[in-house]
Symmetry: C2
Subunit: 239 residues, 2 copies
DNA sequence: CGCGAGTTTGAGAGAAGTCAAAGTGTGTGG
DNA sequence: CCACACACTTTGACTTCTCTCAAACTCGCG
């Protein structure tokens, strides 16, 4: 499974077996064209941009190690963070249609991603039905998640959003074999705020409030969830 | 092209040639299996549900005539309307992955849709590369639109959202060969509010304000855009 | 003609944003 | 190894935008 992050919370890396792109890189049968699916591994420094909205160089990526944010082209100040990427996540799939990226992917810290040219993914899909189906499935799931997040922002209050974020993050850590109760956030308050459509002050205030209630313990980016049930109740309570 | 809506604003119908599903229904070469792609035409009465979130009966639909709304599973009161469907639009594509719908489609008025079983679309995609590519493109575009809408809700003020909605609606009418300055909204204020994450009162107030400024004329669902430039300025003005 | 859903308008309340400042941690260079 | 600088976080006071509650109004339809 996944290699644990070290004490300083540095990015673990993910085994290819649980990667969203696994069926592309490791097809059941040998590749007809004999091409390696992954063009190269890209290393990124904190803040480095993997691709930008409008890039014609369309690639699909799988996060191998580290964390990134997927950012919507923000007109000026109000930047909206579509989602955070953890090891094993796929990103840039929206370029499969028109060959253009519609968001920007930025490294949150040092990280490493596998680069798969879009045309290669498409050729692979054309020759292997399971790969085509897998790509459709990834796209469909991202679409569903995007809508779910949209609906969440539309209907939840600020505390509910923060509770949902903590629970969701815990769940994603758990999926990767880490503790869902004790983890280190890879992103700043500003980035959390951008993801939840709140301000940093509001996020900070709500975390302080959760801490005062004894639901969580926070120290900077370190988070310990003490009462997940309370968070779930907060999330479920009518706005 | 499209047949104009009549004076009472009843749904026009769309020629198959401009439908998003056209490449599926009318493939270049004759269908190997000899199957008609469209299973049947479904007629819906106002308020009737085409499919619900969680439906295992996965189908993809193309709107042939009339209008529908695509609704996110709303926990109680705060219903979020993902998007509105006009003739020629495709809906239900998110069921291509796991075979389950994640939203609910409801008719806004009398309408007629073409039903394509998901398995049939997938078989077709497996045998025809252009169809597979087209499906990926549709999925990718919907994903991009969903994120754009999400970002819009996150960063725009209430008046900006209403301005954006009017301009977007005008554009969609224009794409279909109707006047972008003079049209009839197929949805109620409540539904507009649900789509923009506002309340009906706020939507109504803002429309009244736009009317007072001479930017639009509204009478119930009838809209005439008098100053599109002003709306665009309103949209572009820093929140 | 009158009912009822939908829309408009008004007044007041509340949630989150803005502005401001203090506190905390982190990394760099001496 | 320590000291400083800078970025991030927390906290406080106040503002404002949108929601909520309430009532009048309009339109379509029986």
């Amino acid at each position: 499974m996944a290699k644990p992050a070290d004490a300083k919370g540095r990015p673990g890396q993910v085994a290819c077996s649980i990667c969203a792109m696994n069926p592309l890189c490791h097809p059941d049968a040998p590749d007809a064209a004999g091409l390696p699916c992954v063009e190269r591994r890209v290393r990124l420094a904190p803040g480095e941009v993997l691709f930008s909205a409008g890039d014609r160089q369309a690639n699909v990526y799988a996060v191998h190690a580290g964390f990134l944010k997927d950012v919507a082209p923000g007109h000026g100040a109000g930047v909206h963070i579509v989602r955070f990427l953890l090891p094993g996540d796929a990103v840039g799939l929206d370029s499969l249609g028109g060959g253009v990226h519609t968001t920007e992917a930025v490294a949150l810290g040092d990280c490493e991603v596998c680069e798969i040219p879009a045309w290669r993914a498409e050729i692979l899909a054309d020759s292997r039905k399971p790969v085509a189906a897998h790509l459709r499935g990834l796209l469909a799931r991202e679409l569903a998640e995007s809508r779910a997040h949209s609906a969440a922002l539309a209907t939840l209050s600020a505390p509910q959003r923060v509770a949902a974020f903590l629970l969701e993050t815990a769940g994603r850590w758990q999926e990767r074999g880490y503790s869902p109760r004790d983890f280190r956030l890879p992103m700043s308050r500003r980035e959390i705020a951008g993801h939840l459509s709140l301000t940093i002050e509001t996020v900070s205030r709500i975390l302080s409030d959760f801490r005062a209630r004894g639901w969580v313990r926070t120290a900077g980016r370190a988070v310990e969830i003490l009462d997940a049930e309370a968070l779930r109740r907060c999330l479920a309570t009518a706005p």
